[in-house]
Symmetry: C2
Subunit: 410 residues, 2 copies
């Protein structure tokens, strides 16, 4: 296991405000032989609205199935996160563990079991030990509140730094609502797999259906626009909880006062958290932003951008600080989306290196080389055929990735 | 550039029979600073039928466009292959180079320009120098015949060994027809990209439309079932030429005498060549065969198998000799194909490690560990929901891949 902090980590954990209506506790359930808290419990005020986006995997964890079903009700009183055991591919005993956690938490709070949201991350193929989960919950119920940073650490597995982000918005009646979020991902270590878990809390009052609509919109351009290695976890989960403690008039549509400001805040928090996951990508030495413009549609632009972001040849070229636009052309071509070789333009940083399907003759290589030596790389692709646009983020592919994922046995 | 032979290379170049109606020559055009032949010219008997499968890339090379158009006629008199310059993304000058090669060769043979097939591989973004191509052709026209091994070397770029395969078939009138093929791929070196070029020659008489039907069928389960890193070249080309010199009655349908035998031979040659490409995968230390059974359909099985084969987490686990079936579950899940977590079974080699969505309790790890230490790895996945089946081949993902593709600048 690599414990060295990613070179792309921010200098410090973000300063996140407390959210009225949310009390976070952490405890040591002992899922793994870790000397740290590995169970996170968030108690949420009555009437808290919830929305979620869960993995598209066809082999999801029982936690994912549980949350999907609980989301139909739209209200939450608690979140329980287990780190160190993904409880995936563990049969009936895995399902039992989720039910036991929900039942115990519901009993403690006097709420419905389906108001308890559960997420787990870590080793797969082993059922989560129910006795440890229950003992951990007992500890959490009786402990003092934890800080956001402590919670961000407790939900992590092979993360090399804790990840949080915040934003605020002024809603129609002049009230300021706050939003704080934490996320874990995407370090992996055998036999774990990458799981991204993100949890966002706000004191705004928001109708659950509209909260879901906003989250879908935010995730589409943030969490769903990042990729480390194109692999998708069986447990990926993003949940947003709105306690309503700010006392604003509940927001239920984009026409409502403050809706756009809250949407912007949610976008902002999701984007910050998503970027932090990329910055902790296994072996990452460069943060890469890829923007595709003038595609047939936004969806087409995103598919082309992800084809570039997931190309091992592009990612290794960036690791090698090589402005290899030929590999970008290849990745555009293999995306299978509408494109015209003779209109394609490519830039690295601010320098156009190819235009109209040809290398730009005599372009200045000095700023390109300087840009590639940095740790924030921008690749711009203009397809020249429409108005679609998308931006995605990834990291480079280095020896560090291989070491983390292949060398642990040797 | 790595010049060390892949550890997965066969002990020697295959013994390939000469094919009546085919004369192969090689020459040094000097596309790169290589002390070796880099232009290959095959003269084909009059009446040679041709079929081809070309890259799906939306940014194909002018050679690919040229061949696609020439294939409409269905007859070939020559093949010219350039190594060291892919002539891709080189604008009008790239197109001019292909036309010049076709024109000069057609003049030499007294045939139509569209009976000349052209393929190029190597650096992209630079037009193929017409003067060198023409001088190379002049040398080739005047030289003695080359061996298949010489031709296999001349079409290579960063290949670490030459690749060839042969088969034969007895057709209806008792005649034996022969088939010899060569292929190049898939080493890459900046700023080259992986290109797979495969050329198969037979003395059988085969109707062009039926030859295309047979090639489509063979490619679907061979060349299109291999992957090294999921990247697709702008120049990928497989062509098959049938000279008819064996004098058999032309085969035009699967009902015709010998058609099934020829189909089997073509399948065999394509599979052997495809495997050789995987064996030369960049940094490969293990050859991996992945079979997916009991999927909803063959097409669904293939998509699941390729999802596993392209997963960096699966490929690094194999490099680490780790029977990490959790990563296989993850890759099945992310394929987006019909699957049922609770029916999924997985084996490594002959040992079942997971069944009915659970680890097989107390399975014997000894044969699994021994299997993974070898250099031929088999992964079997049974989805338990249908009758679809597919097998694909790939290699592991190692430090060698990163070194070849990222380290050349440093």
């Amino acid at each position: 296991m690599t414990t060295e902090k990613s070179p792309l980590a921010p200098p410090a954990f973000a300063d996140l405000p407390a959210i009225d209506g949310v009390a976070v506790k952490t405890a040591r359930a002992g899922y793994k032989n870790w000397d740290r808290c590995d169970l996170t419990f968030a108690e949420l005020a009555e009437g808290t609205a919830v929305a979620g986006v869960l993995t598209q995997s066809k082999c999801p964890s029982p936690e994912v199935k549980w949350c999907r079903s609980a989301l139909l009700l739209g209200h939450a009183r608690a979140l329980v996160v287990n780190a160190g055991n993904a409880n995936t591919f563990a049969g009936q005993r895995g399902r039992d563990a989720v039910e036991a956690i929900a039942a115990k938490t519901a009993e403690h709070l006097g709420c419905e079991r389906h108001e308890v949201f559960v997420a787990s991350t870590g080793v797969i193929g082993e059922p989560l030990p129910i006795d440890r989960a229950e003992a951990g919950l007992d500890l959490a119920f009786g402990t003092a509140d934890a800080s956001w940073e402590e919670a961000a650490r407790a939900i992590g597995t092979t993360d090399t730094f804790p990840k949080g982000a915040a934003a605020s918005a002024v809603v129609g009646d002049g009230k300021t609502v706050r939003m704080s979020g934490i996320v874990k991902g995407s370090g992996m270590i055998a036999p774990d797999m990458a799981t991204m878990l993100g949890f966002i809390f706000t004191d705004a009052a928001i109708d659950p259906a509209f909260l879901q609509e906003m989250l879908n919109r935010a995730v589409a351009t943030t969490f769903n626009c990042i990729t480390v290695d194109s692999d998708t976890s069986t447990s990926d989960t993003v949940l947003v909880f709105a306690t309503g403690a700010a006392g604003n008039d509940a927001i239920a549509a984009f026409d409502d006062p403050g809706a756009n400001a809250v949407m912007a805040a949610l976008d902002d928090v999701c984007r910050q958290l998503a970027h932090l996951v990329v910055r902790d990508g296994e072996g990452a030495s460069k943060f890469i932003e890829i923007t595709v413009d003038a595609a047939e549609s936004d969806a087409s632009a995103k598919r082309v951008a992800l084809s570039i972001a997931n190309s091992p040849l592009v990612k290794t070229a960036i690791a090698g600080e090589d402005a290899n636009w030929g590999r970008v052309v290849m990745a555009v071509g293999k995306a299978g989306e509408p494109a015209d070789r003779d209109r394609l333009a490519i830039r690295f940083g601010a320098t156009q290196v190819a235009r109209d399907g040809l290398a730009v003759e005599g372009y200045d290589e000095t700023p390109v080389a300087a840009h590639l030596k940095g740790d924030e790389i921008e690749i711009g692709v203009d397809l020249g055929i429409g108005k679609g646009r998308a931006t995605v983020w990834t990291c480079d592919l280095t020896h560090g990735y291989i070491s983390i994922n292949a060398d642990y046995r040797t």
